[in-house]
């Protein structure tokens, strides 16, 4: 599928219209959604009307910026006025959003065209998208596999050419994990940067809203629109020569599938050959990452869901219900310990970045897992799928540092692999400049060849 950048060039050269690209996306949805289950709701009529309005505005000389007329899908966790926000749960039956989430209002102002709301792991509380009231979303690269989660339907929609970009949320990796599983770029901005108002929460102090897109440039354009900065243009990439990256090998590279490791090492070699200076560093207290994350997310989620767990527990999918119940047993003293650990881990990542432009590490230790798998073999270890998928992304939800996942090649069976760049807190734009520079070295194939739609 055409990128947002290329669509914008052709739109302004009068070589394509929003109506044409929107129709193309809707045709892909008609053709492929029955097997991929990426969408919970398709808003075809509204999208066609928005596209016609966008074309009329362009013809009249009213250009809203890079997202003008761009078909985008939205994770069904964000409020869109007049539509249900299901969170992929029967718990929310009957809900209709009275107004747009702030992020959606910003996209609407930027001229985006909304093709529909996408499937997710129920209440964003899972990494595979299997536990959904609407059934699992499937990976376009191999429909027997998970598209990742929780923004799995979002990722599948872009990878299959049903939208040019999508909006996800990320509490432990829910943008970056599906981006990695589906061969896309996924950006978790710095904590607090993009509004989460109007988004069904999982853990409000770790929830982030961000884009999944085909390229870093597209992710950058959507990110700025989410901020309300619709007319922002792309920044210049940072020069590769003089760029300083750091690999935290211990913990972050300990547990990796052999092909994920190979693709990571190859990308590092290409970056070094291009002139990037890459150090190996140590990050301390990594043993605390998962316990800190777990105690915070369980407590926050249990607080939000307590009354519905008591009143309508049968409306949750069984796996999500039981994990939410677990949070009701966390002791206050342990939650406070987790908050203390969060401060320590944040300082550790700050220190690791003090002499570097970004950290570089894999996104997900494994390729997309088979649907139904609960454990996975990684080297000599058998690990729970959920723990493995979260392992390398959740640290930066705990600390709030911005992180972007970029495709780094494929396994011998064609499944995408990916690596992350992590930047300084509240410096997402600086991270994006690094990512723009590094993407050609990290991704050894054209962004468009990652698309498997049609």
């Amino acid at each position: 599928m055409i990128t947002i950048e290329e669509f914008g060039r052709r739109l302004r050269a009068r070589q394509i219209t929003s109506a044409q690209i929107t129709d193309e996306c809707l045709q892909r949805i008609d053709a492929d959604n029955p097997r991929l289950n990426a969408f919970i709701r398709v808003t075809a009529d509204e999208a066609r009307q928005q596209a016609r309005d966008a074309d009329r505005e362009i013809a009249a000389g009213h250009d809203r910026g890079p997202l003008h007329g761009v078909p985008i899908s939205i994770k069904d966790l964000l409020d869109m006025r007049g539509l249900p926000t299901t969170a992929a749960s029967r718990v929310r039956e009957g809900h209709v959003a009275a107004r747009d989430a702030t992020a959606i209002a910003h996209l609407r102002q930027a001229g985006a065209v909304f093709v529909g709301k996408t499937n997710l792991h129920e209440f964003a509380f899972g990494t595979t998208n299997e536990d959904s009231a609407f059934g699992p979303a499937r990976n376009p690269h191999d429909p027997s596999r998970s598209p990742g989660g929780s923004s799995g339907g979002s990722a599948a929609s872009v990878a299959a050419g049903m939208a040019l970009a999508t909006i996800g949320t990320d509490t432990g990796g829910s943008i970056r994990i599906p981006a990695a599983a589906c061969g896309l770029v996924g950006l978790k901005p710095s904590l607090g940067e993009v509004s989460i108002e109007g988004v069904v929460p999982l853990s409000p102090t770790m929830d982030h809203v961000g884009p999944l897109a085909q390229t870093v440039a597209d992710a950058c354009l959507v990110h700025h629109a989410l901020l309300g900065d619709a007319r922002a243009t792309l920044p210049a990439p940072m020069p590769l020569h003089g760029l300083r990256l750091a690999i935290p090998r211990r913990y972050f590279c300990d547990l990796l599938d052999v092909e994920v490791r190979a693709r990571f090492d190859e990308a590092i070699a290409r970056l070094r050959a291009a002139g990037v200076h890459i150090d190996e560093i140590e990050i301390h207290h990594t043993a605390a990452i998962a316990p800190v994350y777990l105690h915070i997310v369980l407590s926050d989620a249990a607080a939000y869901h307590a009354s519905t767990l008591d009143a309508v527990s049968d409306r949750y999918t069984p796996n999500v219900r039981i994990r939410l119940e677990m949070g009701r047993y966390v002791l206050a003293e342990d939650y406070v310990r987790a908050l203390a650990g969060r401060e320590v881990l944040t300082r550790e990542i700050d220190a690791a970045l003090a002499q570097h432009d970004a950290l570089v590490l894999p996104t997900m230790p494994i390729p997309a897992p088979a649907l139904g798998a609960t454990a996975v073999q990684v080297g000599d270890a058998t690990e729970p799928v959920r723990n493995v998928m979260l392992r390398l992304t959740q640290p930066f939800n705990v600390t709030g540092h911005p992180a972007i996942s970029i495709p780094s090649g494929r396994t011998s069976s064609g499944l995408p692999c990916a690596m992350q760049l992590v930047g300084c807190r509240m410096q997402t734009d600086a991270l994006l400049k690094v990512a723009l520079a590094c993407e050609p070295q990290i991704t050894p194939e054209s962004p468009r060849s990652g698309n498997v739609g049609g």
């Binding site: 207290h285 677990m326 203390a340």
Partner: protein, 47 residues
């Protein structure tokens, strides 16, 4: 509250509530809590 005492009480409560499937998850949470309490960043009143 020690982790052993907490886990025993939590499992009993889950079974009383008809949620036996919680037991392995509570055991996993107990292991995570033990790791959290063992971290060197925790303050103690006696030091």
């Amino acid at each position: 509250m020690t982790i052993d005492a907490w886990l025993k009480a939590a499992v009993e409560d889950a079974e009383r509530r008809g949620l036996p499937a919680l037991k392995p998850l509570l055991e996993a949470l107990a292991r995570a809590t033990a790791a959290l309490r063992a971290a060197d960043f925790n303050d103690r009143a006696d030091r």
